[in-house]
């Protein structure tokens, strides 16, 4: 048992680092993901995650495969795209989802183009699908800093942010600076996606945020319990995903996301607000 569940992590430094990175990631992405789902901004998260790619690619040109360089580039470009898409939906007749979808496809194409002309196929695979097993101390420090920062800021603006999620019109009428909190929250989403980007790549970074969040919604009905459950599910996904990838020699990123998907599937069926219980309630 111990051989199977614990030894891989005591034997190998790189696995230990990867596990730490996943736990740190889970603690930050859990609450942020829950709020993202509650605000019905899943698609926006998707767009943001993809918009990180061209920025990360530019960072890659200057710094190679280092998380700080790619992270900074990704953050700047991702955030610019989010602002631009928001502005476009405001000043034209396009809805936000349409303008986001447009932008993220362009971003994806541009990012892939930059990396594949300047680097090689392996680099591209790393950027698209992540390399959680290659996390070094600098990346680990960056991920843990982002998590600490996110949790601190969330605690700070918790009350108005929650009002903004539930009833944006209300906050606007009482003069509550609604768009400020919306803006801060967007920054947090972008930051956490950057943190997840090293582990899971641009294509799946959102998975560690969304899947645990939607799973937790099926179990609990308070925002605080959603936060805890979502982080817990994300930690479980990280741990079992790494274990799976070690024993079966599967790539680590997809393993983590598949475990998260498995938890989601189980929740869909058996959770208190899942399909079976709801059916029983109706009968």
């Amino acid at each position: 048992m111990i051989d199977f569940f614990v030894s891989p992590f005591t034997d190998y430094v790189f696995l230990r680092r990867a596990l730490m990175a996943c736990i740190a990631l889970a603690l930050g992405c859990g609450p942020v993901g829950v709020l993202l789902v509650l605000r019905r901004m899943s698609l926006m998260g998707d767009a943001l995650a993809h918009a990180i790619l061209p920025g990360a690619a530019i960072g890659f040109l200057f710094g190679g495969l280092s998380l700080p360089a790619m992270g900074l580039g990704g953050f700047v470009v991702g955030f610019l795209v989010a602002l631009l898409a928001g502005a476009i939906s405001r000043f034209t007749i396009l809805n936000e989802d349409a303008s986001f979808a447009g932008f993220y496809l362009i971003s994806l194409a541009l990012g892939v183009l930059i990396v594949s002309t300047q680097g090689n196929q392996v680099d591209l695979m790393h950027i698209l699908f992540g390399t959680v097993l290659a996390v070094d101390s600098i990346s680990l420090l960056m991920v843990t800093s982002i998590t600490s920062f996110s949790l601190f800021i969330l605690a700070l603006i918790y009350r108005p942010l929650l009002i903004e999620c539930f009833d944006p019109g209300f906050l606007r009428v009482i003069g509550g600076w609604g768009s400020l909190y919306h803006f801060i929250f967007l920054i947090l989403v972008a930051l956490n996606l950057i943190a997840a980007f090293q582990a899971l790549g641009t294509l799946m970074a959102l998975g560690i945020m969304m899947l645990p969040a939607v799973s937790s919604r099926l179990w609990a009905q308070h925002v605080w319990s959603l936060f805890i459950l979502s982080s817990l599910f994300a930690i479980m996904s990280g741990y079992f995903g790494l274990l799976l990838s070690y024993h079966l020699e599967w790539p680590s990123g997809p393993s983590i996301i598949l475990i998260a998907g498995l938890i989601y599937g189980i929740s869909l069926l058996f959770a208190p607000f899942g399909a079976i219980k709801q059916q029983q309630g109706m009968a």
Binding site: L38, R159, P160, L162, I163, R172, V173, V223, L226
Partner: protein
């Protein structure tokens, strides 16, 4: 025709000049030649009228007559307009506003207590705890809407009527001198309408100005002493019995139809 289009760059400039506040004097709202544009079409033009507290005003009119847009304009949420809105004795942030119910997610994971506590947001701010006095206020508000034992209940388990009662408890806690309601009784059971109507009458007795957009004319006739009948450029305001005469109603419907027929050509 009466409508003209307002280019969007111009509408931004104009929005700042529309609402004026005068801190002295009894609580009232003065509208002078107010015109409101939406998607570059003028939907209300040249509206002048006067609301003074305490009073219970209904805003009635055919569907699509711009009633909700009118409320949003008073709140400063609808920017492209001309004319003057004068608030006397209160400022825009003293207004409590209840939007149409379907704009909220009724499955949002909050308890009834969390939701009504939002009404105290301006009082407690971002960080402070709720004092004992404020907790008592919340309990009183819940009792007033007939949900005294519901503080810990989740929103998602409530019926439509109960959900609306929760929003009214939040309005009570906002303790605002002026209250705007947009279709507050849509999708709400009869018993709840009765209870909430009593609450509206109580608010007026307390000296507040309550303005509600309603489509149910029977309700307006039974409970609202004063009405603003709104149909695009046609409007009448004053005592409900006079305003809702057959003649006026017919004219309102005609005005609204006429507008729809010509709107495409603008």
């Amino acid at each position: 025709m009466n409508h003209r289009s307002v280019p969007f760059w111009k509408s931004f400039k104009e929005s700042h000049r529309t609402i004026h506040c005068i801190s002295q004097g009894p609580i009232s709202i003065d509208l002078q030649k107010l015109s409101i544009a939406y998607s570059r079409n003028t939907i209300i033009s040249g509206l002048s009228c006067h609301f003074e507290a305490p009073a219970l005003w209904a805003i009635a009119g055919p569907n699509g007559a711009g009633k909700s847009t009118f409320l949003k304009t008073l709140l400063g949420l609808q920017k492209s307009n001309t004319g003057k809105i004068i608030f006397r004795g209160f400022c825009p942030c003293d207004v409590a506003y209840l939007a149409q119910q379907n704009q909220l997610d009724r499955r949002f994971p909050l308890t009834v207590g969390d939701t009504i506590a939002m009404g105290l947001f301006r009082e407690v701010g971002i960080f402070r705890r709720y004092t004992k006095e404020q907790r008592e206020k919340m309990q009183v508000a819940l009792e007033q809407v007939g949900l005294s034992s519901f503080a810990k209940t989740s929103l998602q388990t409530l019926s439509g009527g109960q959900f609306q009662r929760v929003l009214f408890a939040r309005l009570i806690l906002q303790n605002a001198p002026v209250i705007f309601l947009d279709e507050p009784f849509t999708g709400v059971d009869g018993r709840t309408i009765e209870d909430l109507m009593n609450l509206l009458h109580l608010w007026v007795k307390e000296g507040r100005l309550v303005i509600a957009v309603l489509h149910d004319l029977d309700l307006v006739q039974d409970h609202f002493s004063q009405t603003l009948l709104l149909a695009r450029h046609f409007y009448k305001w004053g005592l409900t019995d006079h305003v809702l005469s057959k003649e006026n109603m017919r004219e309102a419907v005609t005005a609204s139809r006429l507008w729809e027929e010509t709107a495409g050509s603008a």
